[in-house]
Symmetry: C2
Subunit: 598 residues, 2 copies
């Protein structure tokens, strides 16, 4: 049976020693009173909820899955899921970062993301029920009418109701322009919506009294393609004007998917049969409104994989310490026992350090991005808000794709540490691998993320957003000039920064001739960008650790941070050498393959 | 539902156009009559059996798994497994490459490996039932007494009985020196064996009338560690001297594991409670006898992953052709449809070509290795036999680890091509990923393979075996001197050969100071060696294709081969650049991590 300990110390390190969040938050009137003690108290309680209430339900959720009653269209979640959700609501957790106007506690996004990392470590499948609600909340908060906000936001904030995103259809996932679900306007200003949706996470379940579906559909006179899509809010049960819940609406679960992982979450085929909904935002502008949900969801997916990386790492280290097998290549390390702990083997350490470096690098990046969202939402200076939004846009595909690809590597490495036991269900490791796999696919596949990064966020503005991130690196390089202890981190980082500039220019140039050059390079490019960003944060973290050690601080935490930074730069960061070669190899070897794909 | 077409054309290409197997086999008296028509006929029939009989059982096997009756200790395999096995026996397939002295057909190993690739594409879990028999057969054939051979080999050859390898115990997998199962000598020359084994594939099932367990155990006076292990043969049912089957022996299944994949194969906890067995080979020399099984099993695991890579590729290509979604970045390619096939997207092609290049490169390597085994066994010249054995020893860890790591990448890429559908069980893709995962673990984890390669097979003889493989490369380089069309393959290959020589010397030198340098570099080293070997075969295959094209051959097969070779050298082979960097980064960043692993 796996175990989980919330990584509160490491979160505090990133929040306060790397990002200095309280200084940042003090600049925002909404968060001016947010102090370190409050944050620590929230995270400690949040960590208890995650580790004590929902972590014990992770394996049972995987084994039981969800079941659909085909007569009533009701979905039963695994044993204990509803009771845990009730506790979640009673504890006020759904309201953590929600708007106080609708009953929220108004805490910063950066604090809520720490909480979500812990929830995801504990139980990704369970966490998707409240997690999806955030997207629906954001879309309604940004684009809903006052009446829609008044009707839905208080219940989503309290957690009495949950939300969904109904986008995908059998014939369209990535390409939403193909969607067919129809919305017919009614005399009373509502719409009757008909169509079939698939892959709807938390689309139906038994944990709440109502479910708020955000549905993409076409109006009768809509233009073809993605410019003819509108967004609607469609409740499972009709809601009277006074907020009371009425009869069942015409939206129901027609089937559940059997999946590789996240078995505890209900992945529903949703049938809309003249379901009544109201328009959210402008007609035919649904994709823009949807992207409010989607961008939040993409950062959320990064948090899912960060959580899985952390919990897989914790369990693999514990196993490696405990498992004795063979002797060190340099001679017995524990002659009193019949064999040494497998921690004596270099490759076991490499597998563990890979997961650790990815978890801690991912945490720094994800919380940096979350703090930028707080600045985007609440900074008093409009320029800061705009620049923060630009950086969030740049980093979102990296958070989504780089962290989820890394988690696939990391959870698999942690499973490998267990040898044959890793393949056995009861140890819990293979579930982390299976659960992690979906994160590379949903909310835009990682290929889509890479095209978003390279095509839109980098080449779309001639690298301007990337250059702004590059300024952080330039500042760090300048600041550490002549610092010999920092050279092993700064030199490769500075070199990659230069390579990246040249490399981006090259691809941009080639892309003017042939747009396929973007598609051919994008996935490699995103991984290089990911290492640039991780490299920056690892160098920053090493800098903090070196300063503490220089001050005489004996806490092994700082030594560990430094050792992990050295590992990262020596063993993971050099992946960029090959990635740059393969990205530069161009599109012809991919596209001039007509004989392969006859 | 996935589909599978035996890749007979590509097998013929490797067998005849790359390896020239009939010329090679003609040199072996045993195989002097083996002609291309016979091989083709066997593979065609074998492919039919694989695709028509056992492929349809792959998904049902995954969904049903095996069940243990705790009262009778009997294991029920999934529906259809036994009937398919009966057909396998009736078709004479178990005897394909077995010794005619015991009823075998005496076909070359290289033909049998082609058949096993197809069986594994069709259904890895099912294939493990007959597959494990090979190991038991080999161990008894090499080390059994005449009486043991007479008793067991005819029934294993006919397939009436199956075999197992009972090695692992709860506290020892990699380190068999720790094993505790005891064997007490009896007055009649037999032994009574008591202990607990785990992870015993095909340890108990309902497909045959008897199961032949090869069991590692300790004699009462055995020295501690791996020098005190003996090998025993222990039948499920006692066998009378006349060969008739008697009462139940004291070996039974105490539990079944619930696993990530290969659900259709029974992974058994085996309890030996005074089970009667006989000694195989010399007392305390069991590990040597066991390695006869193990080396065959390691090549077999490579074939498992080769099979999974091939079938995953076939299905992903079919899906990609069929699925329309978005437009090409260079403009609509099929304006008559609402979107283009996803084959227009460079990264989709990259994912597919990755799987294809790994499948075809893996097939060339695996069949080269199989032909070397035929030479080792049957070549009249003792020097050739010895040199072949040396090359088999060198290549076995590469076949096992490189092909299985590649299959993990390839099956996951093929699943990714399906987008969200890839995560759904009914499409069958996620099963390939789950099944492929065990291949990196069992029969010696891939880390163990890398230590075997670098420590024993390369540094153990100062690189002599590797240099012998290098001669093939040198010959090809010399042969293609000045051939401009070959330069794009030969130049990187020759460069890597030089790097490898230097790199091997460097590690050897560092290892004399610190043995952990071997452990720190070994996994990266094996992947570099894998690309060296794949690079050699891809260059050879490109050479054949270029010759055919130059001769005016219009078969798109050769164009496809050439295009895939170009892809391989441009997009996969450059991984070696990073691997050499990380391998050179040394052991200190891994081992000087005491603060991380407090």
């Amino acid at each position: 049976m796996p175990s989980y300990t919330p990584p509160l110390r490491d979160m505090q390190f990133v929040l306060h020693e790397v990002l200095h969040v309280t200084d940042e938050l003090k600049q925002m009137p909404k968060h001016v009173d947010m102090d370190a003690d409050t944050i620590a108290a929230v995270l400690e309680e949040g960590g208890k909820f995650a580790s004590e209430v929902i972590f014990p339900l992770n394996q049972v959720g995987d084994q039981q899955g969800c079941t659909l009653n085909r007569d009533t269209h009701e979905v039963k979640t695994p044993d204990g899921f509803k009771a845990a959700y009730d506790q979640y609501v009673q504890g006020g957790w759904p309201a953590l970062s929600a708007d106080p106007e609708y009953g929220g506690q108004g805490l910063p996004v950066v604090v809520n993301q720490c909480f979500y990392e812990m929830l995801n470590s504990a139980n990704q499948a369970w966490t998707m029920y409240p997690g999806l609600t955030h997207g629906a909340y954001e879309a309604l908060h940004a684009h809903g009418t006052d009446a829609q906000k008044a009707l839905y936001l208080p219940k989503l904030t309290s957690g009495e109701w949950t939300g969904t995103m109904c986008l995908t259809e059998p014939h369209c996932g990535t390409d939403l322009g193909l969607l067919r679900t129809k919305a017919e306007p009614q005399a009373d200003g509502t719409y009757r919506i008909t169509g079939n949706k698939i892959f709807i996470s938390a689309g139906e379940h038994d944990m709440v009294s109502n479910i708020v579906h955000l549905v993409l559909a076409r109006l009768p006179d809509a233009p073809a393609g993605s410019k003819g899509i509108s967004l609607f809010v469609v409740p499972k049960f009709h809601i009277h004007a006074d907020g009371s819940v009425g009869e069942r609406n015409g939206i129901y679960c027609g089937g559940l998917e059997h999946k590789m992982g996240i078995h505890g979450n209900a992945t529903c085929q949703m049938v809309l049969d003249g379901a009544v909904g109201t328009l959210v935002g402008q007609p035919n502008k649904g994709l823009a409104a949807m992207f409010v949900m989607m961008n939040a969801a993409r950062v959320g997916v990064g948090m899912q994989s960060l959580g899985l990386t952390e919990v897989a790492y914790q369990n693999a280290v514990a196993y490696a310490k405990d498992r004795i097998q063979s002797r060190s290549l340099t001679g017995a390390k524990d002659p009193s026992k019949p064999a040494d702990s497998i921690l004596v083997h270099p490759d076991v350490r490499k597998m563990l350090l890979t997961a650790r470096a990815y978890a801690e690098g991912g945490r720094a990046l994800a919380l940096h991005c979350a703090l930028l969202i707080d600045r985007e939402l609440n900074h008093p200076d409009e320029t800061v808000r705009a620049e923060s939004a630009e950086q969030v846009a740049l980093l979102t595909p990296i958070v989504k794709a780089f962290i989820t690809d890394n988690a696939w590597t990391a959870t698999s490495s942690c499973m490998q540490v267990f040898g044959g036991h890793g393949f056995i269900r009861e140890w819990g490791m293979e579930q982390y691998v299976r659960d992690a796999r979906i994160n590379m696919i949903y909310e835009g596949t990682n290929t889509i993320q890479s095209l978003d990064l390279l095509g839109r966020k980098v080449l779309g503005n001639q690298g301007a957003s990337l250059k702004k991130f590059g300024r952080h690196i330039a500042e760090l390089v300048a600041e550490t000039q002549g610092d010999e202890d920092m050279a092993e981190f700064i030199n490769p980082l500075a070199k990659l920064g230069q390579q990246m500039t040249q490399f981006t220019g090259e691809i941009g140039y080639k892309a003017m001739e042939n747009a396929d050059e973007v598609g051919a390079a994008a996935v490699d490019y995103l991984r290089v960008a990911g290492h640039l960003v991780f490299g920056y944060f690892w160098a920053r973290m090493a800098q903090v650790a070196l300063q503490k050690i220089a001050e005489g601080n004996r806490d092994p935490f700082y030594q560990a941070k430094l050792q992990t930074a050295r590992f990262y730069f020596a063993k993971l960061f050099p992946e960029t050498a090959s990635l740059i070669l393969t990205a530069r190899a161009g599109s012809a070897v991919l596209m001039e393959t007509e004989a392969v794909f006859v």
